[in-house]
Symmetry: C2
């Protein structure tokens, strides 16, 4: 059965199927547990084929984490058709929904993945940088002055947000709207702390 | 020479010396590189003695990380003789100084250490919890209302602070006083975002 299916998939499709299975694994168990043996049994293909596609367990991990990180980024890409004042809340709402739909994947990305391979860590850090860039653009559009400190503040706010999402989105059943409102206020609070302004003066109504 | 010294140290002193050497190693290279072989060469004792003291490489890692985390915590213990309004800035100033004096140790603790062993990760997380507890106590003394959201906010602010310290205290030579002032304002900003108040209304003059 699996060899029948194998003949029908192109190499790219086969590879995508294997990576998707690895991402699904990440939803249940930490990355460190994802060995060639485990994936081989899970998908019903030989270890040889896995080595053919990924070269090594490390190569597999990089592809799986890269794909999971890309899925989170895609789910949280800002909607450019929205005004900057609405864009942050909309993005946060989609992130909270993604985190709750893909609990294990998110947890593994932000907590477990820091493990081992520096390249895997860089992959996750790159995704954080992209998110921070989007949030920064939104604040610049709102008229906040750009500065190195603003960039550090919003990059660090991404780490703050990950912890909040682990604790509130995964750890409680608090309504998504409350989490979004809190995270949004916290971003404005952090931006205000760059200049020393009061939060209320920069947050739009 | 090293065997002469060995006879003069009590087992506790010897163990402390070995752990201190491991912490010093952490200042230069990631925890993952700290093997029994490496430490054995560094300190000039046999691998057998290291196994006697630590049982395994994992045991060594736990002791080294535990000691490094304890040193950071000790350096950042709030001074109870200060008023709550001054205590946060004083603590932050000592943390920035510690981070700059022990650059590699701090970086390894907050970035590299997440690797591998769950017990090592828990050790670092426990230190974060303790720090968050201290900061929370200070805000409660200042009259901020306690709530589960306040706890999550300040626990997550510790992650924010680690990223800021990596970027500003390690990555730039920005004056410590500026980093302290920014971190302090950001804590008040995050606290304000719990209730939706303006930052200015909770930050003392």
């Amino acid at each position: 059965m699996s060899s029948d299916r194998r003949t029908r998939l192109t190499p790219d499709q086969r590879r995508a199927q294997l990576v998707a299975s690895g991402v699904a694994f990440l939803a249940e168990r930490p990355l460190d547990d994802l060995t060639m043996e485990v994936l081989s049994e899970r998908v019903g293909v030989s270890r040889g084929l896995l080595f053919h596609y990924f070269g090594s367990r490390q190569g597999l991990h990089r592809d799986v984490v890269g794909t999971a990180a890309a899925a989170l980024l895609e789910a949280s890409t800002p909607r450019e058709d929205l005004a900057a004042s609405e864009r942050l809340d909309d993005t946060l709402a989609r992130i909270v929904a993604f985190v709750r739909e893909h609990r294990g994947t998110f947890f593994s990305l932000v907590r477990g993945v820091a493990s081992g391979d520096p390249e895997v860590r860089r992959e996750v850090d790159r995704a954080r940088d992209v998110t921070a860039g989007w949030v920064t653009e939104g604040f610049l559009e709102l008229g906040v002055g750009d500065s190195p400190l603003l960039r550090v503040a919003l990059r660090s706010w991404v780490n703050f947000t990950e912890e909040v999402l682990v604790e509130l989105a995964l750890g409680t059943d608090r309504p998504a709207a409350e989490i979004v409102a809190f995270l949004s206020r916290s971003a404005f609070g952090v931006v205000a702390s760059v200049t020393g302004d009061a939060v209320a003066s920069t947050r739009p109504e």
